[in-house]
Amino acid sequence: MNTGSVQTLIVLREEEHAWLQDLFRSRHPMLVTLCNKPFIEYLIDFAILSGSEALRIASDSPITDLENYCRNGSRWGITIDYAHILPEDDQERLLEKNRQFCSRGKTMLIEKTLFVAYDKKNDYRLWLRACPEGVAVSGTSGSITILGNKQENAIPGPGPGPSLPMLLTIGEYYRLADDTLKNADRYILPGYSSEPDCFLGRNVVIQKGAEIRKPVMIGNNVQISAGSIIGPGAIIGSNIIIDRESVVSGSILMDNTFIGEQLEVKGRIADGSLLIDPESGATLQMEDPHLMSVIQPGASTKQIIRRLIHALAALALLIVLALPFLVLRPLLGLRRNWHTKKRLFPPGATAKKLTIEQVVIRPEGADGRLAIALSIDRYPSLFQVLGGKLRLIGHRPAVSSDTSTISSGCIAMNPAVFGYAETEEWPENERDELMVDHYHLLHSGSLNDIGLLLKALLNKKHM
C-alpha cells in the first residue's frame, strides 16, 4: 500500500565505519559527535527536512547504545524503529527484509553514510519529490537512494540537493568539524549563539582572565580557568574542565575531558585520556583517565592548617546539627530508614585500607527528607574528621558502588565526608565526579574548602 508518505531507512554495517570505532571505542560511530552533535542527529535532521515521518535504523551489529540514545524518536518528532540485517545481505535482500516499512510510500535509503551536508534553509521535500527513482547522491562516503517514486513527470530538483563529504579518516573528520563550525548557520547546532561563530552551552563558567576567540563552540558544564585561551577554532564538548593558563585552539575536545594546567592543545583531538593528531592519525594514550597533571602533596604546614580548619568546621557542624541529629536519628531508626554500609577505601588497593562507614537514608517521609536536607546522614562521619581520618570535603567515594571502575592510583588522597562533586549539578558518573574532585584538590585552599562545603550543603541535587 502506497499512501504517499515518506520514510528513511538508514543502513549501518559494522565494517563501514570501523576507522571511527577504532578511535572512539566507547561509543557507536553514529554517536561520535561533530560540533557537539552526534552524527546520527544530522541524519535524523535531514530525514525530517526531507519530510520523513518514520525512520528505521537497520544494522548488522549490536546497536544498544544507539537505540538507547534515539529510542522511539519522540524527541525529534519522528518515529524511529530498528531492524536487523546480516553482513552478507545485499541491497535487494535488505529491502526485502524491510518491505513493510518501505511499502508505506517513498523511501529514502541512506547507506554507508555518517554525515549528510545539508542547509536547513533549503526545502528538501521539494528536492525529494523531484528526485526520480534510483541513486540520488553517491560518493565514497555513502549514498542516498530514492525508492518508490513512481511519478512520471519527475523533474530535476529546484535547488541543490544534499552532499556527502569525504569522511573516511580522522583528518577528514577534523576538517569537516572545522568546516561545519564555519558554516554553522546551515545546521541545527546545540548551544546558545548570541553572535555568529560562537556557541555556548549551559553552565559554562569562564573565569576572569580567560580569553575566548571565535569561531568557538562550547558544550554544557564547562569550566575554563583563569589565564586560558580558547579558540580560534576550538570545539569544546560537555563536562570539561580546562585548567589554568592552558591554550586550546584549532582543536576538538570530546566530552568528559580534563585539560590540566599550562597545557597547549593546538590542532589536536582530545578524548578523555586519548590525544590524537588528526593529520598523521597518531594517537597518544595517557595513563591517567584525563589529560591532567599529578596531584602533588602540598607543603606539610599548609596541610596541617588545612586539616585543622577541616576539624574546626566539622566541630561547628557537629554542634549545629546535634539537636536535629538527636531528634531525627531515633525516628529514622524506628521507621527503619537508617542503614549503614561499610566499605574499604581505596577500592582495589591492598595496603593501607581505611574502613569507612556511610549512612543511607531514603528521601521518604518528612523525617527522611529533612534528614537528607540537613545532611544528618553524614553526622557520624564528622567524628572521623576530628580524628584526622577523613577530610571534611574532598573526594567522597560513591555509596552505591563497591567496586570502583576508577583506578585508585589517581585518587591518592584521604576520602571525605562531603564530595567536591556535590557542589556541582552536572556530574553523572564516577568519572565526572572524579574530574571535579581532582580539580578542587589541585586548587582549593583551606578557605575555599569552607565555601565549597557550604555550596555542597546547599546543593539541590545533594538534597
Binding site: R335, R336, N337, H339, K341, V360, A398
Partner: protein, 158 residues
C-alpha cells in the same frame, strides 16, 4: 497455592543495601508464568509510581523476563527426585531501584557461567546471560539450604 504476606525488613547483621527496605512482598509459586506476570505488573506499578522517565513497559518486560529465566533455572537445576518444586519470588523496593529475588532449595550454583558462543548455535546457556544483561546488579546468597538470586534494576542514578 499462592500466599502473600507482608514481611518486616530483617536485620541480618551484615551491611548490605537490603536492610534499607521497609517492606517486602513474597509469593511461593509453582508456575513460572504467574511469577513472571507478577514481576511485570509489580515493576510497571513501581516504575509508574516513581514517575520513571523511561519506558515503563520495557521496565516491566525486564522483570518479567528475568524472573522467568530465574524460575526456569530453579526448575532445571532442582534435585531430580523432587517432582514438584516451589519457588519463592520476592520484591524489594528502594526509592530508586527495584529488586526481584527468586529463592529455591537447590544446590548452590555459579552465577558467572561462561557466555554461550552464539556463532556455534547454542541451544541453552542463555538464562543467566539474559539476567546479567537486563539487570544492574545480580547476586546470589546462600541462606541455610536456600539459594536466593537477587536481581536489581535502577530507575535512576543512585
Amino acid at each position: 497455592m499462592m500466599t502473600f504476606r507482608q514481611l518486616p525488613a530483617t536485620n541480618t547483621g551484615d551491611h548490605s543495601m537490603t536492610q534499607i527496605l521497609s517492606a517486602t512482598l513474597k509469593a511461593e509459586l509453582k508456575n513460572s508464568r504467574i511469577a513472571a506476570n507478577i514481576a511485570r505488573s509489580t515493576a510497571e506499578v513501581f516504575a509508574e509510581e516513581r514517575h520513571f522517565s523511561g519506558n515503563v513497559q520495557e521496565f516491566g518486560h525486564t522483570f518479567e523476563l528475568a524472573v522467568s529465566e530465574a524460575f526456569t533455572n530453579s526448575v532445571n537445576y532442582r534435585d531430580p527426585s523432587i517432582k514438584d518444586i516451589t519457588v519463592t519470588i520476592g520484591f524489594e523496593e528502594e526509592s530508586n531501584a527495584l529488586t526481584a529475588s527468586v529463592t529455591d532449595m537447590n544446590a548452590p550454583f555459579n552465577i558467572h557461567p561462561p557466555e554461550p558462543e552464539i556463532t556455534e548455535y547454542p541451544e541453552g546457556g542463555f538464562g543467566l546471560l539474559i539476567i546479567w544483561k537486563l539487570m544492574d546488579e545480580v547476586s546470589c546468597s546462600r541462606e541455610g539450604q536456600r539459594n536466593a538470586l537477587s536481581m536489581k534494576k535502577f530507575i535512576s542514578r543512585p
